[in-house]
C-alpha cells in the first residue's frame, strides 16, 4: 500500500508573524519542524522572497498560507501558483486553519483546501454573540 503524500506548506507574512504562528502550531500540535515553513517578507526583495518560498514549497503538492490576500506576500504566493495546480494559496490565514492543516496534511490537496477554508471562516466569531448579527447586517448593506 502506498504511503500518503504529506502536503508541504509555507506560511508567508509580514514581520514576525510567520515565525510566531508556526511556533504556536508546533506548540499545540507537536507537528514536525518541517510541516509548515515560516517565511517573512522583512527586508526581502520580491525576487529573494520568491526564491525562499519556492525553495520551501518545491513543486508541491502544497499550500502557501499568506496573511493578506494582496501586497508583497500575496503577490509572490499567487505568482508561484501561476501555471500549476499542485500549489494553492490560502490568504487571511488564522491559527485554526494552520492547526487543521498540521493535523491533516496527509489528505489530498483538493479535499483539504475546502475543509481549511470552512474551518478558517468558522473560527471567526465574537463575544457578545449578538454583535455577529450586526456584522452580517453590515456585510449585506455594503
Amino acid at each position: 500500500m502506498n504511503e500518503p503524500v504529506m502536503l508541504r506548506a509555507v506560511l508567508l507574512g509580514h514581520g514576525g508573524m510567520p515565525e510566531g504562528m508556526v511556533d504556536a502550531v508546533r506548540h499545540i500540535t507537536g507537528c514536525e519542524q518541517t510541516a509548515i515553513v515560516p517565511v517573512t517578507n522583512r527586508g526581502m526583495s520580491p525576487d529573494a522572497l520568491t526564491a525562499a518560498v519556492q525553495d520551501a514549497i518545491g513543486a508541491g503538492p502544497g499550500i502557501i498560507f499568506t496573511d493578506l490576500p494582496s501586497g508583497s506576500c500575496g503577490f509572490v504566493a499567487r505568482r508561484l501558483t501561476h501555471n500549476t495546480s499542485q500549489i494553492v494559496v490560502i490568504s487571511g490565514v488564522n491559527l485554526p486553519v494552520l492547526i487543521d492543516f498540521a493535523m491533516n496534511r496527509a489528505m489530498p490537496l483538493e479535499d483539504l483546501v475546502p475543509r481549511l477554508l470552512t474551518k478558517g471562516r468558522a473560527a471567526m466569531g465574537c463575544a457578545p454573540a449578538h454583535l455577529e448579527d450586526h456584522a452580517d447586517r453590515a456585510a449585506s448593506n455594503r
Binding site: G43, S45, P46, S70, G71, G74, R78
Partner: protein, 164 residues
C-alpha cells in the same frame, strides 16, 4: 493636480503605499510604470487586488507614461506614480521631465550585488548611478519608507552605508 508621489519601490502596490502613503495623500489613481507589467494582464490583476475600490490602478510603459505625465499633472485626480527600480524612474525623468519633483526611494531590499544603505534601501552600483542620473536631471531624490519617518537625502544615502 500635481502627481502627489513619485516612488521607487520594488514591491509596487503594497501596504506601505496603499495604507501608509495612501492614508495621507488620498490618491484617486496609482500608476505603475513598468514595461513588463504593462504587457501582462494577469500580473496587473494580481497587483490590483491590493487596492480599495476608490483607487484606480493603471499600468503604463515608460514611453506611454512619458507622453501622459503632462496630462496627469493637470488632471483633477490625485496620482501616485510607482516604478519598481531606479533605472525606470531615471528613464522617465530623462530630458528634465521630472525636474523639480521629489522622488521618493521607498523600498529596494536585500538581494545579491546590493549594499545596505538603509534598513529598507539596498543599492547596487548600477542603482546608485541611476539615482545620480535622476538627481542630475533636476529631480530631488530622497529615501523615506513611510510619511512618518525621517527623509534621508541622496547624499546621505550614497555615503557608503552610513545613512542609518
Amino acid at each position: 493636480m500635481p502627481i502627489v508621489l513619485h516612488r521607487i519601490d520594488e514591491r509596487l502596490i503594497h501596504g506601505q503605499v496603499v495604507v501608509g502613503w495612501g492614508g495621507q495623500l488620498h490618491p484617486d489613481r496609482i500608476v505603475v510604470v513598468d514595461d513588463d507589467l504593462a504587457g501582462s494582464s494577469w500580473e496587473q490583476e494580481l497587483y490590483s487586488l491590493g487596492l480599495p475600490p476608490e483607487i484606480m490602478a493603471e499600468f503604463a510603459s515608460v514611453r506611454n507614461a512619458r507622453e501622459r505625465i503632462p496630462k496627469w499633472r493637470i488632471s483633477r485626480e490625485r496620482v501616485i506614480m510607482l516604478t519598481r527600480d531606479a533605472a525606470t524612474m531615471a528613464a522617465l525623468a530623462r530630458g528634465g521631465l521630472l525636474a523639480g519633483e521629489e522622488i521618493n526611494v521607498g523600498g529596494l531590499h536585500h538581494s545579491p550585488g546590493r549594499r545596505q544603505a538603509l534598513p529598507y534601501v539596498y543599492l547596487s552600483d548600477a542603482e546608485e548611478d541611476a539615482l545620480r542620473e535622476l538627481a542630475a536631471s533636476g529631480a530631488d531624490v530622497s529615501a523615506r519608507d513611510l510619511p512618518a519617518t525621517r527623509p534621508v537625502t541622496l547624499d546621505q544615502l550614497l555615503q557608503d552605508g552610513t545613512a542609518h
